[in-house]
Point group: C2
Chain length 219, copies 2
DNA sequence: TAGATTGTTAATCGATTAACAATC
DNA sequence: TAGATTGTTAATCGATTAACAATC
């Protein structure tokens, strides 16, 4: 098994599929399946086997002719490619319902996220969520100075999102996972993933509306 | 202004961008901007003006040569195209943190969602969330018989998701918005939107990891 | 060895962009 | 009218699929 290291340009379409590979391989591994061919896996994932092999080829050679892939190995390779093996010390800003839901998300730890602090307005400070203390947001700056934090999660209302993103950037995070209903902007050396929950709802409504007509490309 | 009605096949790439058009146009309209050219709007949205005009052309003619688009009209057209003007009576299953967060999502009503019932295990029944009563989930079936419900939202743990989806389908919903950390499967005449929250986290981690290397196609 | 399946090349398909005639 | 900007066609670019030699 060879994991390619050089500076190959990965197509964005391939990058978007990496989490899907992770999910299905994690599931197969959990189920104790040790070996799978590109044909079998592609059927489970509802893609073509060509696409599966083509995608993997951007990262290296993970299979064996006439045999297929060892699930555990391929799963490990995908984890390495995505970068899950690293630990990401993370702060969560916003201890409302959404913040709590995210803090309790079962896949969190598995993906390398280690929650080190939760922040909210002073009246919520002192609580604990999943064993992590809730601090008043006015100490966020100094907290970020004293602790190495790689990732910030924002689950606040729209109004405060951008300012908090600025503070996170100033505090040295590498990425921001933003759930506020407004996108936040960050400098080029920081990655922001703005989740537009309303977008997926609109997609759903559109598909419902156009289901009967043949206005939808088969997908 | 002409809205195309015939059975044109809309490319999936265009469909995926509709919510983005909705979001930006809603914002411009809210700000009181009444007129915009494809060049200006495309700059705000960080796409090309060609793409913007090409996308809109699948649905009709909404602009005026030498003038541009009236924001209000174009916004209204996008709403019609997506189908937001309809009302979608909706049930929410799962009154935990995520369920509560979704019930309180400010863009909910604006997109035509009308919450008519919330369901959870019997010990949570009797509560009210956003003025909507929480019913025990064992009466879901009869509730769906007595009420017209077009959309079901699932925010339960993985274990119960598929069974609840089955009940929703049996109860006649047209769509399911699923936040359980496992995809649900539905018959062809029902639309399911499975939200994989973990996927967006993995994308973020991948981008953080590969930021420095030139392994990412510029995007 | 014979059968199976990979990794990769080439062909096809779809999406994006450039360019411009039409026209407000 | 002159300037601006649309809607659309054609060219380019990128992503997917088919096919197969290499090989376990």
């Amino acid at each position: 098994m060879v994991i390619r290291t050089g500076p190959v340009t990965i197509p964005t379409a391939v990058i978007k599929r990496l989490p899907m590979y992770y999910r299905y391989l994690a599931d197969l591994d959990r189920k104790g399946i040790s070996r799978i061919s590109s044909r079998e896996l592609s059927q489970i994932m509802d893609i073509t086997s060509s696409q599966l092999r083509q995608d993997l080829s951007y990262f290296g050679e993970f299979g064996q002719q006439g045999f297929g892939y060892r699930v555990e190995d391929l799963y490990g390779a995908i984890c390495t490619i995505i970068g899950i093996e690293n630990i990401y010390p993370t702060v969560l800003i916003g201890a409302g319902n959404l913040g709590k839901a995210i803090a309790k998300y079962p896949g969190f730890r598995r993906r390398g996220i280690e929650l080190v602090g939760i922040f909210d307005l002073p009246d919520k400070a002192g609580e604990e969520i999943e064993g992590i203390p809730v601090y008043p947001v006015n100490i966020l700056q100094s907290f970020l100075l004293e602790n190495i934090v790689r990732l910030g999660i924002i689950t606040t209302p729209a109004e405060s999102a951008q300012q908090l993103a600025n503070e996170l950037v100033k505090g040295g995070v590498s990425g921001i996972w933003n759930f506020a209903p407004i996108p936040v902007f960050v400098p080029d050396d920081v990655v922001a993933e703005n989740i537009h929950i309303g977008d997926s709802l609109l997609s759903l409504l559109f598909k419902i509306k156009h289901k009967e007509n043949n206005e939808l490309a088969p997908n």
